[in-house]
């Protein structure tokens, strides 16, 4: 799954950073590496760029760049474990986050088409 396909509030782990040359290097130098946890904090009102939280820093990158970052969505158990809680204790907001991303799936198909058309 691509980072650009996530919905606001989603939390994911990077599996691969794609793209080429300076482009890819810069993303990695900012700490976006395989294994890094990314949270999609929000999307700009005009649909681009996206705001993400990486290692405690708020960065924003364009959809075209986010398209190059492959991620796996963190499920609620993993998120709870991250908080140091037992998996079943706090189902509330983690569940909401994942639901939020599902809602956005159609929108992301549209944005994918747009990204491909962009130079």
């Amino acid at each position: 799954m691509r980072f650009a396909e996530l919905g606001p509030g989603a939390v994911a782990r990077v599996t691969r950073v794609g793209g080429q040359g300076a482009f890819r290097r810069r993303l990695m130098e900012l700490g976006i590496l395989p294994g890094t946890r990314l949270a999609l904090t929000g999307i700009a009102p005009l649909g681009d760029p996206m705001e993400l939280l990486v290692r405690g820093a708020s960065l924003s990158i364009r959809r075209a760049e986010a398209q190059e970052v492959e991620v796996v969505l963190l499920d609620r158990d993993e998120l709870a474990r991250e908080r140091g809680e037992s998996p079943a204790s706090r189902p509330d907001d983690a569940g909401a986050r994942i639901a939020g991303s599902a809602d956005r799936r159609r929108a992301s198909a549209f944005s994918r088409a747009r990204v491909r058309g962009a130079p």
């Binding site: 793209g19 890819r24 290097r25 130098e29 949270a39 990158i61």
Partner: protein, 748 residues
């Protein structure tokens, strides 16, 4: 090269003891580079340390600002601080990004530093230490300032543990409040005497080290001189430094890079290694280099904190504020409000100050005129010099106001949000979201707007923005449009339900917006092309802006404008004044005498005005054949020449052409004259079509020497202002030509 190879051989352990090598700065260098990521409070810290002594210069060969300041510690000799532009990494693809490594190693015309002060954000240690590790790998003496320590008061990093790991002194600071600065200054002074070389090491995979060794043989010896101090007896630091430089070259050199002064051998070796590894699916050079560094950081950071959090959440307050300021509706409303304030301040609130400056200079000129004996010298002083200085100073209110607001917006963190909100729009133009505020300012005045492009990081974006800003309808065009519209169009005329007069004004704004967008798109794809680089906007936590720092930057900018662009504006004003005042009537052969080769006047003047007799008047007549196809006569030609001083001067120049003396804002007698002006056959000279053609000419042409002077100042070359003048004048000429000729043939 052989020396390096020998040293490498020694490090590999061929038995012979390597000679101790003294690296670095010529003895006595007390230059400290301030290095760090963007948004870590580097400039604030610099200002705190260097006090009031900062001087602005330029990095050699590149239009990046270089600030130098002097620090005077209590019980040690003073030393110099130099600000290096904020960067996330030393790896580079462009000459601009290469600046950091050149400054650190003292390559090219850069003086060799004695020490690097790395400023890191206490709240973003992992990413900030990435840059710090690169410096330590290079074997450069480093002191670390862990800044903004107040923002992590609930879980502060242990500075001692950090220093223990890195092997260099680390000092906690809060530059905003001025805390920790005494300790930092003392540490820097001590480090200058005994340069601290870091011991933190990154365990790279063996395959990568083998590649680095191959490239290391091609690293030029001059690069190794970087950083001062002597090497330990084993020479290990020299080998480590060669390895670090090889890794730098490996991450930087690529087929499409724009780096300068990379030796051919090194470049070829890097490309060869890259090509080999690209075909190997088990290898990923960039990931190996960057991943190893981050792995080291991730392994050591937990020891630096009492309670380590890998992925801290966004600061609570910033998150809440962003929920409003980045909201699709509320966010845009706030944004519009903030931009309205910025724009209004430039467009109208600066007006009283501008008027005050203008009347002060007018008063001064009058005072001298009444008290000094008449003559050429008096005229030169009152009209040339005082007028010229006035022309420079008159920009100050807008420049100061704009930089005041920019300072507040930058400091608070809102500027990054502006870029974030507007990026989608600016991206369509091939620009960065940060271009928005300079572009908006262009609607008030191009001069402060061009200065405001300094907030943009990339030189290419900055240049493109500068080149198109003068196309926007600045406030100096309004009196010109006002005169033409009022003189040549009736207030009662309507097209449909739209009154022609106000409709035309709106149309001119839309026209300039359209041409700006088109020019940006075209120039961005031709003259100033960009490689595709990922956009990156860091959204720093909201912080309270510091008034002192803002005022300081504002004054610095104002002063820089006076010094940098002032002389050129003054000189141009004087040349223009001479052109339009000399030779005086009665000095030459008399009325009606025109320069040889000038065309016969359209209608025989009954009484020649002083301006007609001047060089400027003759020039106007000389260019008449060229501008006649646009519908302009020589009088408009003189007006256009005069408008080069500033567009609104067109109105007063036309007043002089018609012998109407000084005109007020309304210029009523001039409007009357323009309406009544007839050709010999009785037709009107200034038809509405001529008016339209003239307005289009003013919309597109670069009739503003101050703009050109500022572009020269900001780009440090004559090439760009000349290009700007050429492309805008050509555009204006062609557009007016087409408009007038088409209109003429349609019988308008």
């Amino acid at each position: 090269m052989t020396a390096v190879a020998a040293r490498l051989g020694a490090a590999d352990g061929d038995g012979s003891p390597p000679e101790p090598r003294t690296r670095g700065a010529p003895s006595g260098s007390r230059l400290v580079l301030v290095v760090g990521n963007p948004n870590v409070g580097k400039t604030t810290l610099f200002n705190r340390l260097a006090g009031q002594h900062a001087r602005i210069g330029n990095y050699p060969g590149i239009t990046v600002e270089r600030r130098v300041g002097t620090v005077k510690p209590f019980e040690a000799p003073p030393f110099e601080l130099v600000d290096v532009p904020g960067t996330y990494s030393l790896a580079a693809r462009s000459a601009e990004e290469q600046l950091a490594i050149s400054a650190i190693l003292g390559l090219g015309d850069n003086p060799r530093p004695a020490l690097c002060l790395v400023v890191v954000d206490a709240g973003q240690l992992a990413r900030n230490l990435y840059l710090c590790l690169q410096l330590i790998e290079l074997g450069v003496p480093v002191v670390v300032a862990v800044n903004m320590i107040d923002e992590v008061a609930d879980n502060p990093p242990n500075v001692k543990a950090l220093a223990e790991w890195l092997g260099v002194p680390c000092v906690a600071t809060n530059a905003r409040k001025g805390l920790g600065l005494v300790a930092l200054t003392r540490t820097l002074a001590e480090a200058l005497d005994a340069p601290p070389i870091g011991r933190a090491q990154v365990p790279y995979p063996a395959g990568l080290l083998e590649d680095a060794r191959r490239i290391g043989a091609e690293v030029p010896p001059a690069w190794l001189g970087g950083g001062p101090t002597s090497v330990d007896a084993t020479g290990a630091t020299g080998a480590a430094q060669t390895q670090a430089l090889a890794l730098w070259a490996l991450s930087s050199v690529d087929v499409d890079d724009e780096l300068e002064n990379i030796p051919r051998g090194l470049r070829e070796r890097c490309l060869a290694v890259r090509a080999e590894r690209a075909s190997d699916p088990t290898r990923d050079l960039d990931l190996e280099i960057i991943g190893s560094r981050y792995a080291t950081i991730d392994a050591h950071l937990p020891a630096v904190y009492l309670r380590f959090v890998t992925n801290p959440p966004k600061p609570k307050l910033s998150g809440q504020v962003d929920r409003v300021l980045l909201h699709p509706v509320l966010g845009f409303l706030t944004f519009l409000l903030v931009m309205l304030v910025v724009f209004q301040s430039l467009f109208s609130w600066s007006d009283p100050l501008i008027h005050f400056i203008e009347s002060a200079f007018a008063w001064l000129a009058t005072a001298i005129r009444t008290h000094a004996p008449a003559g050429a010298v008096r005229d030169l002083v009152t009209e040339g010099v005082i007028g010229g200085v006035g022309n420079v100073v008159v920009f100050l209110p807008q420049i100061l106001m704009l930089f005041f607001f920019i300072g507040i917006l930058e400091d608070s963190g809102y500027m990054a949000r502006v870029a974030y909100l507007m990026d989608r729009v600016m991206k369509a133009l091939g620009l960065h979201g940060r271009a928005f505020v300079p572009m908006l300012s262009g609607f008030a005045c191009a001069v402060p707007a061009i200065l405001a492009t300094r907030t943009m990081e990339r030189q290419r974006d900055r240049l493109l923005t500068m080149l198109v800003i003068p196309l926007m309808t600045c406030s100096a065009r309004l009196p010109v449009y006002g005169l033409i519209i009022a003189a040549l169009f009736s207030p009662h005329q309507r097209v449909g339900w739209i009154p022609v007069q106000s409709g035309l004004m709106v149309a001119m704004y839309l026209f300039s917006l359209l041409t700006t967008l088109l020019a940006t798109a075209i120039l961005g794809r031709t003259v100033v092309r960009a490689r595709r680089m990922p956009l990156l906007i860091e959204l720093p936590p909201y912080r309270l802006p510091s008034l002192g720092g803002t005022v300081r930057v504002m004054l610095e900018r104002g002063l820089d404008f006076l010094k940098g662009a002032g002389t050129m504006i003054l000189g141009c004003t004087m040349v223009l004044w001479l052109l339009l005042s000399y030779p005086k009537v009665g000095v030459g052969a008399g009325v009606g005498a025109s320069t040889p080769g000038s065309p016969p006047p359209v209608r025989t003047p009954t009484a020649e005005t002083a301006i007609e007799h001047s060089f400027g008047g003759r020039l106007g007549k000389a260019i008449e054949p060229a501008i006649a196809p646009l519908g302009f006569d020589w009088k408009l030609g003189v007006g256009i020449i005069g408008a080069f001083a500033a567009r609104e001067v067109f109105v007063s120049t036309m007043g002089l052409v018609y012998g109407l003396g000084d005109l007020d804002e309304e210029a009523k007698p001039l409007r009357q004259r323009l309406r009544e002006e007839r050709r010999p056959d009785g037709r009107s000279v200034y038809t509405p079509l001529v008016g339209l053609s003239l307005m289009v000419f003013f919309a597109l042409s670069c009739q503003c020497m101050s703009t050109l002077a500022v572009v020269r100042r900001e780009t440090r070359t004559l090439r760009w202002p000349l290009f700007m003048f050429a492309y805008m004048t050509t555009l204006a000429y062609l557009a007016s030509l087409v408009l007038y000729q088409v209109g003429h043939h349609l019988g308008l």
